[in-house]
């Protein structure tokens, strides 16, 4: 059984969604991040996305590692369970949780340090396993919570607050995910909520591992002149290549797109994302093409944003490959799990 908590005071002015819930009811506890931190904007986008999806709070599971970014799971949808794991190990927690109950919506929030340094192995293998979840990296090029060391996503030539210049090649989460065969790869910018919300909604509804790399500047340690992850630099260098509109199941596709420009993709729950190429010269369903395009742009310091690649068959999703029963494993009645005394008696023959 499940339970919808009605808006305590049905405030007439506040718009409600199909569950009769206001945006407020998707909020969490107060953020303790620095004023202006990109992560708070991402939190706002997630709240908007959940409200728009008419998400039942109890259907959502929030997971994270350790870092300023990882703290944000406490700042949205207080009606959902949250699991703040240890540093870099959230993917394994998410994989296990998802194995136990395939019905819920899993959202993992991580940082570039949490995901690309200590957590790289787990991230890569969660992608390989195609765990059905949205994995969102709040990417700021530094370790915020430990006061600004370079992370593995720091670009060559970027300058640290104390002046040090990074010279090691960055790990780009988008290229990484593409090279590993991820079925949903997107990039966003904390400063562009309009673009981010539908990406998050599509990612939540995608059947399989959906990675969104969100450029989310750290105002305290990486927002200065010479940093390639500052607000200014990001604003100047990000380009939407693949605009995505999200259309819920019931709804009609209202906007009418110019002939041939729109690519609608149906998600497993019946909702659709409509992709529109903005200058991008490749087919978003062609992974290799996407890789080549992104990599080429990165060489010129251009961050391509939008829904970069999608493959919606769900063929390799974890439970599909496992042939798991449709009933979540944590709800299968005990008598279907335990073979009982008769079977045991029979089995013992093998060992005599």
């Amino acid at each position: 059984m499940s339970f919808i908590n009605k808006p305590k005071v049905a405030h007439p002015s506040l718009p409600v969604n199909a569950l009769g819930m206001t945006r407020r009811q998707y909020e969490g506890s107060m953020s303790t991040l620095c004023a202006g931190c990109g992560h708070d904007s991402v939190t706002a986008a997630i709240i908007e996305a959940c409200w728009g999806l008419d998400m039942r709070p109890e259907q959502l599971v929030k997971l994270s590692g350790i870092g300023c970014s990882s703290k944000t799971t406490a700042y949205f949808v207080s009606g959902s369970h949250g699991f703040n794991a240890v540093h870099g190990r959230m993917p394994s927690i998410a994989s296990g949780a998802n194995a136990a109950n395939r019905e819920l919506t899993y959202v993992g929030i991580s940082g570039d340090g949490d995901s690309l340094s200590i957590g790289l192995g787990q991230l890569v293998h969660a992608i390989r396993r195609n765990v059905n979840m949205l994995y969102l990296i709040e990417n700021n090029g530094v370790y915020g919570l430990t006061k600004g060391q370079f992370s593995a996503s720091a670009d060559i030539g970027t300058k640290a607050k104390k002046g040090e210049v990074n010279q090691s090649p960055p790990i780009d989460p988008v290229l990484l995910a593409l090279s590993l065969g991820a079925t949903f790869v997107a990039r966003g910018f904390s400063g562009d909520k309009a673009q981010l919300v539908p990406l998050i909604q599509a990612g939540m509804r995608h059947r399989g591992f959906a990675l969104i790399d969100v450029l989310s500047p750290c105002v305290t340690f990486n927002d200065h002149e010479g940093s390639t992850k500052s607000y200014t630099f990001t604003r100047e260098h990000y380009h939407t290549a693949m605009e995505a509109d999200f259309v819920p199941p019931a709804q009609e596709i209202s906007v009418d797109y110019p002939e041939g420009e729109a690519i609608p993709v149906e998600l497993h729950d019946g909702s659709r994302v409509v992709l529109r190429k903005l200058g991008a010269s490749y087919d978003p369903t062609d992974r290799s093409a996407a890789y080549a395009y992104i990599e080429d742009k990165l060489k010129h310091n251009e961050y391509i944003t939008g829904l970069i690649h999608i493959e919606e068959s769900g063929k390799t999703e974890f439970h599909t490959l496992n042939r798991s029963s449709p009933t979540p494993l944590n709800r299968i009645p005990f008598d279907k799990l335990s073979p009982g005394s008769a079977a045991l008696e029979k089995l013992l023959g093998r060992y005599r």
Binding site: M1, S2, F3, N5, R56, P57, E58, Q59, V61, T73, A74, S78, S80, H81, G82, F83, N84, A85, V86, R89, P91, S92, I93, A94, S95, G96, A97, N98, A99, A100, N101, E103, L104, G121, Q122, H125, R129, H319, N322, R323, S324, S325, P326, L329, N330, R331, I332, F334, K336, L337, S338, P339, G340, S341, A343, L344, L347, L348, Y351, R352
Partner: protein, 616 residues
């Protein structure tokens, strides 16, 4: 030929050892013999000493025929089948005086003629097999069956029984059945014709194995997980724990797959490493599935950080530590009990964990089930401390029984209804004064939502850096451990329990201890015995310790880790605790125990040379 033992003496009471090269398929021949003896109603144990390698290195298989049903390694060899030229000389030395050595006389072995006190029997096995069969691989495999035939004749194993076993294994493959049967006869007939059969060391039907099975601990534990209703298993392969997950998977494919749809009621995840494996188990348990991971020492070391999270955030999980020889990579195919301290206190900060100590495969089955009940009841990690000897060797155990009335103890999980009735849910408030608090599962009711974290939290589940709030939770966790002491299995006590000398031990030492007790009894030395089954230690452990003036702690590690745990976690005066340690990597025999205890007795002539080494 010299024969220092008189027949009736050693009937159904001797040790047969096979020296082979690994990767040559000798295992099936060896277990054929063991199984046959078992089916003749005669108790046996089988111990496999294999290298950490896949092919070409020496490997040994030891069958102890033991009419008294002793489970321990005998510590002597009566009949040695020397099939590995590399180890001939070493093997020859190992045979007890008056024993027998069988070798392949296709090639002359002058090295074997060194000893006059044993009987050396040559059989031209290669020659016989090569004349009868072709194909290199085929000949290698069948040569094993051939020597099995020779042994069958020498120790008088019932051919009918062996045929039955072979029909069962090759039933569907008539060609194989035929060649194997022929190979067996080849050896059997040769022995009957050319050797004095049977030897005085031989098998005679008894009725002591009825109601028993031969099984290894990993198989039993895997089966236990199926019966306990575990649905998620995550692991990373590591010897000697790998076969536990193989077993679980195998049983699930048999019992957990819908015949119609092929849908599976389980998920086995091969993780990328042990850090991920334990993470998956935590995620699944937190989300309401029964989940577990099998591993060994190196895996436990890698799980340390997550184990601290599980302790502090109170997430149930079950870990099987099939211990091997440490430190570090150590000797992966040898046995030890050296992870006790690590598992009891794993992770940084103030932590403590629940441990179960199975003594044999039978207990692996029952304790696997118990482990899940305890983990969910106590909301904390529970370790099943098995080892390579229990996990990978074949033990004779009583039939496993299952009570269909059993229902899992899921502990304090609030249902949707209970949540609806609550006006507010707090994760870490001690409502029942047993230091165990209520948890909720995702997907049930938004009122049950809470935030699980390894960072400082108060009893309401909120983040805190406040000393008092932090201590409230930490102090309750300490009290929870006292609650745990009431839930875990009580020790098994043998003897009046108040004699002067007491032995305290755990796990796979049990067989050796029981045998030592018999040996000592025959020498008029009386000792009581307490086998500890779990940590934390309860009242019974305390009282046994206080009732005995001298206590010998028997364990398989260098640093007396069980003794350390007793010293720290009971009120015993440690000067009372004497250590008897065995950390050679081989399963324990009764000798060091007998010697160790006798050495402390006033009138102690070291008798073990006679007593210990004799199996009776």
């Amino acid at each position: 030929m010299p024969n220092l033992v008189s027949a009736p003496d050693r009937m159904n009471d001797f040790v047969l050892k096979f020296a082979n090269v690994n990767g040559t398929g000798s295992a099936s021949a060896n277990s054929l013999i063991m199984k046959a003896i078992f089916r003749m109603g005669v108790p046996v144990t089988g111990k496999n000493y294999f290298p950490s390698n896949i092919q070409g290195l020496p490997t040994w298989y030891e069958i102890r025929v033991t009419r008294d049903a002793y489970a321990a390694r005998a510590g002597r060899v009566d009949i040695l089948v020397a099939m590995n030229s590399e180890t001939y000389s070493k093997d020859v030395r190992e045979v007890a005086s008056g024993g027998y050595l069988i070798y392949d006389s296709t090639w002359p072995r002058s090295a074997l003629l060194q000893r006059g006190d044993i009987t050396v029997i040559g059989v031209p096995l290669a020659q016989l097999v090569n004349e009868e069969f072709d194909g290199v691989r085929n000949r290698i495999l069948l040569k094993n069956i051939a020597y099995a035939g020779v042994i069958a004749a020498l120790i008088d194993v019932d051919l009918e029984v062996i045929d039955g076993l072979m029909r069962e294994s090759f039933g569907k493959k008539p060609k194989l059945l035929d060649s194997n049967t022929r190979a067996l006869r080849l050896g059997y007939d040769y022995a009957m014709r050319h050797l004095q059969c049977p030897l005085p060391l031989r098998v005679q039907r008894m009725d002591k194995t009825r109601g028993h099975i031969m099984i290894d601990g990993n198989t039993a534990a895997g089966l236990g997980c199926v019966y306990a209703g575990a649905t998620v298993g995550a692991w990373y392969p590591i010897t000697p724990s790998t076969s536990l997950m193989d077993a679980f998977k195998g049983f699930c494919e048999r019992y957990r797959v819908d015949p119609g749809t092929g849908e599976r009621n389980f998920a086995v995840i091969q993780a990328e490493d042990e850090l991920a494996a334990i993470g998956m188990v935590l995620g699944a348990s937190w989300n309401g599935a029964r989940a577990f991971t099998p591993t060994s020492g190196p895996g436990i070391s890698l799980m340390n950080e997550f184990l601290g999270l599980a302790y502090y955030a109170e997430v149930p999980c079950v870990i099987f530590d099939v211990q091997r020889v440490g430190p570090s990579t150590g000797m992966p195919t040898r046995t030890q009990q050296a992870d006790i301290m690590l598992c009891a206190y794993a992770s940084h900060g103030d932590t403590r964990h629940v441990l179960l100590f199975p003594a044999n495969p039978e207990e692996c089955f029952y304790m696997a089930v118990k482990a899940f009940d305890l983990a969910e009841r106590l909301q904390t990690p529970v370790f099943v401390m098995s080892d390579l000897d229990i996990g990978m060797n074949d033990w004779m155990c009583r039939d496993l029984k299952w009570d269909d009335a059993y229902r899992p103890d899921r502990g304090k999980i609030l249902s949707a209804g209970e949540l609806a009735d609550l006006d507010k849910f707090y994760r870490y408030v001690d409502r029942d004064d047993d230091a165990i608090t209520y948890r909720t599962l995702p997907g049930v009711n938004p009122k049950g939502a809470y935030f699980t974290r390894g960072s400082g939290h108060n009893q309401y589940g909120a983040y805190t850096e406040d000393s008092a709030e932090y201590q409230t939770v930490l102090d309750r966790l300490k009290r929870k451990f006292s609650t745990a002491a009431r839930y875990v299995p009580k020790p098994e006590i043998v003897g009046k329990g108040d004699g002067k000398i007491g032995i305290v031990s755990i796990g796979s030492c049990d067989g050796a201890v029981r045998e030592a007790i018999d040996v000592l009894a025959r020498q008029k030395v009386e000792v009581d015995y307490m086998r500890i089954k779990a940590f934390p230690f309860g009242h019974d452990v305390e009282s046994f310790l206080s009732l005995h003036a001298t206590i010998f702690v028997v364990e398989q590690n260098r640093d007396a880790q069980l003794r350390s745990l007793l010293t720290l976690e009971t009120s015993v005066d440690k000067s009372k605790l004497k250590s008897i340690l065995s950390y050679s990597g081989f399963p324990m025999s009764c000798d060091p125990i007998v010697d160790g205890i006798r050495a402390t007795l006033p009138d102690a002539p070291r008798l073990s040379a006679v007593t210990g080494k004799s199996t009776r």
